[in-house]
Symmetry: C2
Subunit: 293 residues, 2 copies
Amino acid sequence: MKASLDCIPCFARQALDAARFVTDDSAIHEQVLRKMLHSASTMNMQQSPPAFAQQIHRQLRLLTSVSDPYRAVKDRFNAMAMAMLPGLIQQVEQADDPLEMALRLAIAGNVIDLGAHPGMTETDARQAIASAMNEPFCGDIDAFRDTVAKSKDILYLADNAGEIVFDRLLIEHLPSERITLAVRGGPVLNDATMTDARTVGLCDIVEVIDNGSDAPGTILTDCSDDFRARFAAADLVIAKGQGSFETLSDEDRALYFLFKVKCPLIGNCVGIPTGTHVAMRGHDLRSQARSTP
Amino acid sequence: MKASLDCIPCFARQALDAARFVTDDSAIHEQVLRKMLHSASTMNMQQSPPAFAQQIHRQLRLLTSVSDPYRAVKDRFNAMAMAMLPGLIQQVEQADDPLEMALRLAIAGNVIDLGAHPGMTETDARQAIASAMNEPFCGDIDAFRDTVAKSKDILYLADNAGEIVFDRLLIEHLPSERITLAVRGGPVLNDATMTDARTVGLCDIVEVIDNGSDAPGTILTDCSDDFRARFAAADLVIAKGQGSFETLSDEDRALYFLFKVKCPLIGNCVGIPTGTHVAMRGHDLRSQARSTP
């Protein structure tokens, strides 16, 4: 989906939040914000919002000379989620429908997003995950189950650190031998990279590749040739996170989006209220968007 | 007070809201926003927030070729407030302390601010005014009464159209023969100009001057020589609205600010929660700001 003019005040807010998250140096806060404003004043509005966030975070890394500014917080959220894992495994095993429970928890894990929630604490994340089954949900678990059962080559696009522990939980209830997990090709925000996949043990369960890009989403033209080949070859893509939806919503192929709606513009676009946990086919989300006034 | 980096996402939001308010032409929305972003990328952060809003609204008038884009809404709010006036007069006359009631209503009228509340309707304004006496209040009515009683040359700086009907109500409970009312020198947002003062009958009650500026506040260096001379000569200035506070907060002279706190940054700066109705001396607000952590 293309960025909207309404994204721009939000980009300015995110640039400032990110700069403050990464450094206490107010001169750098100002530089990051001014660079962002200058870029936005000439930005191509045909781009998706994550293409813009990618630019902001590149500037931030350049100006602070810190190659992975969110490393410490990614480690913290990985550790938090790993500590929760035994309890979550039990919760899934005891559920009437373990796959449904694992899927709902994987979507709940999408709350660990320091772009949308810059001040998020581990307590916030724990609370959000504890109430996962009470959140509004939009999707068809049985259709997801059937699609997965029929697919031989599944590409699972991870989103954030911490969250990928919940992805691990879901992947363990899917035919993991048919799954390849893709992480970001370089650090951006608290998005998961190979380091995170390794830390939470995903590399021992499935093949993990990186997409060659440092965008907080999946901008195919910015991804590596290898990744694009895997994307084209897969007969099902499971795409985690709002950034995945923003960058892949127009892809006409077998694609399930799993995310929590955090942005009211996206909510309005697909006719689903903010806060909803979504597990929907791209095709169905597009139909819903077309029928939304 | 100087603008903060936090003002910038808000300016972007305001530029977009204002453009959409004034025209349905999405190409103009984009142009206004891009111009604003470009200006903000090099803006002088020593300026007050209204200096920046002044630039946004000049651009908007230039790009739309509409010299007073808010004229219709100003007329509507003037008419609404004039229709409320007989009831308000009765309310003031029946109050235990008519001056207090008139002062509180004048501050309540400050809710009619299409910069802070772009979607404000007449119903919203009526509701806000009906609950004027229940809002949190910060000020000393008796000190205000005493200061006014001792002052011989009072300059009353008006803020918005509609709101100035409530100013009229207050002025009628002050020694009006010693009051000069100042309005903006040119259209900006829904701020009151000479047209509005005339429409609501203020020109029949007090001398009305304009300040020579199209800023949504009182930037003295941008005002006319005549206005600056009147400002310097007055032994009391009563300054309505948050824009007045933003532009005159550092003036070390007899000055009462009457406004509703609408911006959390200003609230934090002076240690007064958003939503509070304020009637305070500049000197006391500065002391409070200094003692706020």
